[in-house]
Symmetry: C2
Subunit: 159 residues, 2 copies
């Protein structure tokens, strides 16, 4: 295994650990993955459809809220691409998400719904390993076809 | 002006130049802003609602298409935050976008529509200045309120 491959795998593992922490509602694990230190105030997260959240504190609070209000969530990551340059690593991937609604009155599981989100994640190298600096997720609203973005007219040609 | 301030301003200027290039449909200017070199294949862009575009070639083609199909676009950037660490800079901002529809039959300007997009932009330091490595824009679908994300149900709790 080349050094480049080992490094790429380490970043992939950090990326997977991030999603695993959310999937298992493990806030402690997530605390361990999100960057600390001098850049902690610049940690930024965009949940799909949300404004930007900035700073480690605000980011962690948002995840605590989301975990508390999500009964079931599962991520199937596809199209994962990693690029490493120096102390920065970029991961782009597609999150194929399965979420469960609240349980039914009779105690049976709620209905499952799927969603498609694309994510840009940036990691920084630390002495403890790769840590998440930036996460931006956004819903895929339509196939990538010119002039066929549908209901979100103003956003479609916007960059 | 401290070194940190000068650096932050240089990144802000690169960020503004990126939006100016799109606003003025100046593909040559954009060519100059998007990263070249060893990381060119990992350049990634997500236009609002789109899947991930990867590689400088695919990214530039998408901008050429967008420029060709956009009659008028103007960006008012607000809430611009910059963090610099080593050779990497992170910019998060809100794009307040004004776009114009096609001209009317009588030659008068088409109607204007507004849109709200949040962006995560990552720049790399090069010998020629800061260059764009990553751009991810996504529509703000609702105010950040718990359980009030509206029509995009499955995406709301998704990360």
């Amino acid at each position: 295994m080349t050094a480049q491959t080992a490094e790429t795998r380490a970043v992939e593992a950090a990326n997977q650990a991030f999603y695993d922490a959310v999937e298992t509602s493990d806030l402690d694990a997530l605390e361990n993955i999100v960057l600390t230190g001098p850049l902690a105030e610049s940690v930024s997260v965009v949940h799909p459809g949300w404004p930007v959240l900035r700073g480690r504190g605000e980011v962690m609070r948002s995840y605590a809220l989301i975990m508390a209000s999500t009964d079931y969530i599962q991520f199937f990551l596809t199209d994962v691409e990693v690029a490493v340059d120096g102390d920065t690593a970029l991961v782009t991937c597609t999150e194929n998400i399965l979420t469960g609604g609240p349980a039914e009155d009779d105690g049976s599981a709620g209905s499952l719904v799927g969603g498609l989100v694309v994510a840009t994640n940036v990691f920084r190298r630390t002495s403890a390993g790769w840590r998440l600096w930036v996460h931006h997720g956004s819903p895929v609203l339509a196939e990538q076809e010119e002039g066929d973005e549908g209901e979100d007219g103003p956003e479609e040609p916007a960059l």
